[in-house]
């Protein structure tokens, strides 16, 4: 079991700094997911932990020992690459055994480890094949198997499912979760896909422009985003974010925008006329049973999935609003609707995008 700690890690390419002082602890046995858009620095950070890239400044510690000057091979970590990085001229068995053979491990022990990993990953039938004869999902299993047989201190996985089709990604996601539950080792997983992050992680690290925006358990990030970026990035479909103005009312405040007026109770930190961003998730909007609501809109199109319904609504002067309701709604394109906001699930962010409050009421 292995703890990995980053202290003020910075990385520059020439004049351009791409990581701006990352502080992070990945606890022993934790499944930690680095998530963020392209270019946020998540893969660079993983490669730095692996020892494949140097830091410009800062420290990396594995189980309390600084490893900045320890080579990748001596760190005892196993990396799984998006490209699989398999040897095309070797069989699956050989690909998995090869690293162990170089370490002079007894053949019987190598054989045991390879066959155990192959069974766990359901690739025993393919051990004699070469990678070219395998599907993408099978190749990724081999790459994971090659990491497992090393019995590393921790697993580092760089977008391991990105080259797979959507259906296989879902299957492999479940298998990775089961694998982590089974072996219990520390895993750091990089993805741009927030659904992978939400479904796999014990802890999510959201990165943007080389900085950590927020760290926490999946539902903590979902329920208590500390800024508008995390609010918009975590969750699918994404949170509705609407620019509003706060106006002092007789009791509490009124949040206003074109075709929108939401009375809210007292909120610390608001000033009269302040510009803010209101955040409301699609499932926290209610279709009004009469014509009154916080907002009126026109249904642009609907997705009726049987068990649930998505409405995409146009409001003049505002970005398109997404509504998610359970069950089947008798709503058609072009219909006028009134929507109410669930204040107990409504978020408010200041002009810099930092959270003012995550539950406006209740």
């Amino acid at each position: 079991m292995t703890e990995i700690k980053l202290k003020q890690v910075r990385k520059s390419y020439g004049e351009v700094e791409v990581l701006h002082g990352i502080d992070l602890t990945v606890e022993s046995g934790e499944f930690c997911v680095f998530v963020g858009p392209s270019g946020c620095g998540k893969s660079t950070l993983l490669r730095i932990i692996a020892g494949l890239d140097d830091v410009t400044s800062g420290a990396i510690e594995i189980d309390g020992e600084a490893v900045n000057n320890v080579s990748a091979s001596a760190r005892g970590l196993a990396m799984v690459f998006q490209s699989y990085a398999l040897y095309p001229h070797m069989s699956v068995y050989k690909n998995m055994a090869f690293g162990l053979e170089n370490s002079k491990m007894p053949k019987a022990e190598i054989d045991r480890r390879v066959r155990d990993a192959a069974e766990m990953l359901q690739i025993t039938d393919y051990l004699d094949r070469r990678p070219k004869a395998l599907s993408g999902g099978q190749r990724q299993r081999v790459a994971i198997g090659r990491a497992i047989v090393r019995e590393p201190k921790a697993f580092l996985l760089d977008e391991p499912l990105s080259n797979l089709d959507a259906e296989l990604r879902v299957t492999m996601r479940k298998e990775l979760a089961a694998l982590h539950a089974s072996i219990g080792d520390t895993m750091i997983y990089v993805t741009h896909d927030q659904t992978e992050a939400m479904t796999l992680a014990d802890k999510i690290v959201v990165l943007q422009d080389g900085r950590i925006e927020q760290t926490g358990a999946p539902l903590d990030l979902y329920n208590n985003p500390q800024n508008a970026f995390v609010a918009g990035f975590i969750g699918s479909p994404r949170m509705n974010l609407i620019e509003v103005t706060a106006n002092k009312a007789t009791e509490g405040w009124t949040l206003s925008a074109a075709n929108l007026s939401v009375p809210v109770p007292e909120i610390a930190g608001l000033t009269d006329g302040m510009r803010c961003t209101l955040g409301i998730r699609p499932e926290h909007l209610r279709v009004s049973t009469d014509d009154t609501g916080h907002m009126t809109c026109k249904v642009a199109f609907t997705e009726q999935l049987g068990g649930e319904t998505y409405l995409y609504c146009d409001v003049e002067g505002l970005p398109q609003i997404t509504v998610h309701q359970p069950g089947q709604l008798p709503v058609v394109k072009g219909q006028q609707l009134a929507l109410n906001f669930d204040l107990s699930e409504m978020h408010l962010f200041d002009a810099d995008g930092q959270v003012i409050v995550n539950r406006v009421a209740g």
């Binding site: 020439g14 392209s38 494949l52 890239d53 690459f81 998006q82 490209s83 040897y87 095309p88 001229h89």
Partner: protein, 343 residues
């Protein structure tokens, strides 16, 4: 004295000449254990010309315990399996540019070498020219101030006979045309000084001067991550061909790097000139350039590998230029500004 690096050489075509001359000069650092090409005649001719040992079996060469590293000079479509073969035997890799024909394949090779725990170096010899290194230091130390405008120009010429060789200028063998085969050196050198490009808007074309599959012309505008803007012009359709150049307009002066000479026009009126003029292969003879840059690069690779540290130009760094070229091609194809993929 440190033990010499045991080196295998694979691929003995036109591009091998400067490497061979460099290796002869580096005998105190490097012990060439065998040179391999599929053609027995080409192998014999090369080894006789340069007095280097011949290897008849590439597998045996990869498994030879006296071989520490391999220099891969094959065409781009004959790299992947060779690199996997040698990396699989824990041999460090030094490969000619480009890393591979596509960005994804190039990333795959970088990953493969990382997974094999071997160093991957790329032959971007222009980084090792004296004037390039002086300019790199000036920019790094801030002597010139912030970079505001960048120009990268590769106005080269190739006869049709150059492209008549089977596969030349094709996507299947070379991975493209002027960008990936010729301009890649200048673009890599530019990126090593500026850092990454954020966005590019470009046009690629094949002019009537050439019968070839890929582009012999590319032009584009770039926005750099550091806030600078710039332009590239790359062509093998610009008779009679001129030396490639890089220019940087900075807060304290402007620098022009051309033909191995660095000229700095300082804002205070001073003009400084560094380096000696040298040909770069921009004219009709693509091999009309000296071999001392190759020598410096190979020496750096040997010394770095022996010291257990990455070489001066790694595969991971080379991905920046592959990502830029992929973005230029995509921008031209789609007719719109393209974000450069970040690692």
């Amino acid at each position: 004295m440190t033990e010499r690096l045991g080196l295998a050489v694979v691929g003995l075509g036109m591009a091998a000449k400067p490497h061979a001359l460099a290796l002869k000069d580096l005998e105190d650092l490097i012990d060439v254990r065998g040179c391999y090409a599929r053609s027995a005649e080409a192998r014999a001719a090369f080894c006789n010309t340069y007095g280097l040992p011949e290897a008849r079996d590439v597998n045996a060469l990869a498994h030879d315990p006296s071989v520490d590293a391999v220099l891969v000079i094959t065409p781009p479509n004959a790299r992947q399996d060779l690199i996997a073969l040698f990396a699989g035997q824990k041999k460090h890799i030094l490969t000619e540019k480009p890393l591979e024909r596509t960005m994804q394949a190039a990333e795959g090779l970088v990953d493969l070498c990382a997974a094999s725990d071997v160093f991957l170096g790329v032959v971007f010899q222009h980084r090792f020219r004296a004037a390039s290194q002086i300019l790199a230091k000036m920019l790094h130390d801030g002597d010139l101030g912030a970079i505001r405008v960048v120009r990268a120009e590769v106005p080269w010429w190739r006869d049709q006979s150059y492209y008549d060789e089977p596969g030349r200028g094709s996507y299947a063998r070379d991975g493209g045309g002027v960008l990936i085969s010729q301009a890649i050196h200048t673009l890599d050198l530019m990126l090593s000084m500026t850092g990454p490009v954020a966005n590019v808007q470009a046009l690629c074309a094949t002019t009537p001067f050439h019968r070839m599959e890929a582009e012999d012309f590319a032009a584009g505008a770039m926005e750099f991550e550091n806030g600078a803007v710039g332009a590239i012009f790359a062509s093998t359709a610009s008779f009679p061909g001129d030396a490639e150049s890089l220019s940087f307009d900075c807060d304290k002066g402007s620098a022009l790097l051309k033909s191995g000479v660095l000229t700095v026009n300082w804002r205070d009126g001073r003009v400084e000139v560094f380096g000696d003029e040298a040909a770069t292969g921009g004219g009709a003879d693509p091999m009309a350039f000296p071999y001392d840059w190759h020598k410096s690069l190979i020496a750096d690779f040997a010394v770095s590998v022996r010291a257990g540290r990455p070489p001066g130009c790694t595969g991971a760094e080379a991905l920046h230029v592959h990502r830029l070229i992929a973005a230029i091609e995509a921008s031209s194809r789609e007719g719109k500004k393209q974000q450069v993929v970040k690692g």
